[in-house]
């Protein structure tokens, strides 16, 4: 198939960017979206142009490195799918596709479609862990059984890949779903309960400091999250936060 691509190009964080048109031909339905961009880039290199920069690594939907807002949707049109798992059979010949970076004050553009998501790391550093030493001097793993429903819920929250689509989808650029997922993972496990209070306060503080916006419950984050992280996690975050603030 043949496609018209309208792609955001920006030389670096200091320069201004704009949308640029490209045509690609001979795209097959079995190709992934990123393989379609590979073909565009190979063509650009052959004609002496700089290829379009975009983030990617695992190409199987787990590392959280790929991003892209495709036709207005973070990670493209399919639910529960990262950009790297999107395939061209979803499009038809003659389509025009708009490709833009994940935008947000806390996600400045590095180049073209590549953005800086290190704010997410800093939030995790502020409290996204259990403070135990890694010396191995712990109790036996089966010493404390964890009810399966709790374990499963903790797992579901821990499935977040830290991609940032929730922020890109939100009109306020809120990171509540991302933070809520981490807080919920630990709040559902006995191991996480000890530091629950400091954790939620510190992570929320860092989140605000990074310039992420407030949550106004539009639900756009959940709709675009490739890993099905549910809004429940935001409710839980609010609950944990209130609890921490009230119970001194």
């Amino acid at each position: 198939m043949e496609l018209l691509l309208k792609i955001w190009r920006q030389a670096n964080g200091q320069k201004k960017g704009s949308m640029v048109n490209y045509e690609v031909k001979n795209i097959e339905p079995d190709m992934s979206f990123l393989e379609m961009l590979d073909i565009l880039n190979q063509g650009l290199i052959e004609t002496g142009e700089e290829p379009v920069a975009f983030d990617h690594d695992c190409r199987e939907g787990i590392c959280g490195m790929c991003s892209l807002v495709i036709n207005g949707s973070p990670h493209g049109p399919d639910r529960g799918t990262t950009t790297c798992q999107l395939h061209m059979r979803r499009f038809k010949s003659g389509d025009t596709i708009y490709i833009e970076p994940f935008r947000g004050t806390a996600f400045p553009v590095v180049k073209d479609l590549v953005v800086d998501r290190s704010a997410f790391d800093r939030i995790q550093q502020s409290g996204g862990y259990v403070s135990i030493n890694t010396s191995g001097n712990t109790v036996d793993a089966n010493a404390a059984p964890i009810p399966k429903p709790d374990a499963d819920e903790a797992f579901n929250a821990a499935a977040c890949i830290g991609c940032g689509a929730c922020v890109a989808a939100c009109k306020n650029s809120s990171a509540m779903l991302f933070v809520g997922a981490k807080v919920s993972q630990y709040s559902r496990l006995p191991q996480g309960k000890v530091e629950a209070k400091e954790r939620v306060i510190n992570m929320v503080k860092q989140m605000d400091k990074e310039g992420f916006g407030n949550c106004t419950n539009t639900g756009a984050c959940e709709a675009h999250c490739p890993k099905g992280i549910s809004l429940e996690n935001i409710l839980n975050l609010n609950r944990e936060y209130l609890k921490a603030k009230i119970i001194k």
Partner: protein, 737 residues
Amino acid sequence: MDNKGQMLSIKELADMLNVSQKTIRRHINSGKIKSVKLGGVHRISREEVSTILEGEEIIEDQIINSGPAQEFPFPSKVPSGELKNKWSNHKGTINLVSPANKRNIDVIVVGTGLAGASASATLAELGYNVKAFCFQDSPRRAHSIAAQGGINASKNYQGDGDSDYRLFYDTIKGGDYRSREGNVYRLAEVSANIIDQCVAQGVPFARDYGGLLDNRSFGGVLVSRTFYAKGQTGQQLLLGAYSALNRQINRGKVEMFSRHEMMDLVIKDGKARGIISRNLINGKIERHGAHAVVIASGGYGNVFYLSTNAMGSNVTANWKVHKKGAFFANPCFTQIHPTCIPVSGDHQSKLTLMSESLRNDGRIWVPKIKEDAEKIRKKEIKPTEIAEENRDYYLERRYPAFGNLVPRDVASRAAKERCDAGYGVNKTGQAVYLDFAAAIERYGEEKAVSSGQDKNNRELVKKLGKEIIKAKYGNLFQMYEKIVDENPYETPMQIFPAVHYTMGGIWVDYNLMTTIPGCFAIGEANFSDHGANRLGASALMQGLADGYFVLPYTVGDYLANDIKTGKINTDTKEFDEAELSVKAFIKKIMSNKSGKSVDYYHRKLGKIMWEKCGMSRNAKDLKTAIKEIRKLRHDFYAGVFVPGSADNYNEELVKAGRVSDFLELGELFAIDALERNESCGGHFREEYQTPEGEALRNDEEFTFVSCWEHMGKDNRPKLNKEELKFDSVELKSRSYK
């Protein structure tokens, strides 16, 4: 030089063939190479170069003869004493660094996968100052994140007779007796502790209804010792290690350098003293000094271009330390994983694994009748239309004891054998089926009975069975459907072997130190524990064992002698030189103003590797591969085009650096495969097989680790052999029948 039909000088030809100028002169004198004299100097025409490349002469000359075993120049440092006491005795007697001194010692860790993140966190916790590096935008994205199936530990929670010894034995046997007993036993010994540690960190492993940890089985073993978190075990373990790392970053004990590529190792007075890195956002070349450098940069499967590794996985950090003196061990030991999604076309950028855990429930087959296979390839019939008696469950047929759960190397070769014989499915004929219909029936019936429903209601049974399969492998099935556009609950999956893991890597001693004092290697980057074939769910175990429980202690044995050194000064001639050589390389690679893309060459390399150094190898093909790689390397420098600039974000430049290292490694890989005149584990030499087509080891001559020493640009690498001694197990031919 350029590629427009000019004449080559002796030096250029020597560079291209990777032989010395002396060799070329000798061949000119003897008339084997024809030259013309232009202005008094020898020149060789392009046509002559092609003739040389096609001939055998030059290359024959260059393959090193293994010769008789010689004294291995580095001790493996495996402690003496009884196998099960080695590690505790060693830990109890090695040198320690006091807490006060640790504060003055800096350690660089390159990589933040399971190995690197866990090591960084523990080193920092012990008191060292750590600088950690990764090329992704966050340490959490290291390739370990993609591991699906699980992690082994000898917990014996299932009470099925597991023990440290059994895990040790399975690993040694699975590795086809090409790994070190002492290291492997230690791995088994610390494995149980990994699970305790991870659970304490809040890693959400799968649990049963009683709230206790659940296990599954993996290939090559007869017990259930694999812990898992759905199909996302690597993700959950890595996020655990990442959280421990974050805690230390927050404490100021780890400084994190994301989007940084290690470009070279700096050695001063014979010791590793730092690295040169490139900031991938602004292109700045930076110097970092430290008292020790730990390489945790993962495996090099991407030398095949297509593999299940992430796009950025590379050999660069490994290769740079190799070129600075570290021995590279068993480069040709590669694992080809039997269950991956088959290649669908030329556009393919990577391959996707379908976890080995699927072999717990999936049955592998191809049609028994060739005509059926042909009809399937032409899409004239569907696999579900082939009657049970016309299916060949070839693993169950050939290996009744282990059936579908034979080790990976065995399963991969068996698939290739069937496809080569013309029974393959898929439009390319390069695929076999992995079928869940029987498991769906079985689970469905069990569920129907246990929930008091009618087990003769086929629709109901199918529905219940699918639900159970979904709970176990849902995300894998979904991944498959997205890529292939077929529903694996209704029709069998198509799978084919693909490059997955590299057992070879940097040689390390029992302390995980390379042959360069102060330079360590952990995780997939080293060669240590898996011999010639790795068992499933053992890489995650090894990465975390190295990082949490081994390296942080053994590093003290070396650093105890370094407490008076003081801060490492990066303003020295050694750092100057390393930085200059990095800059010179970048300048060279950026100098072509037009040409082919990096991927163009990478694909070509991959094709050579897959066809001639892949699932089965023979001397003739390996020799051809060596020559082809040399030529390709030459063409690469002459013809690669990297657009953009070096002082900006430039992915093509990064890729060019990695591919240039792959082009060198590829040659060593083929040389190693050629030198090992036996079949063992993942290394299958067609010349050495039993009448039934099984791998034929040669213990008499090859019970050693091939340790390759870089001898400088113009010289052939040297083979050193670390003899392997087996005191606790008897060398047997591996049988899974």
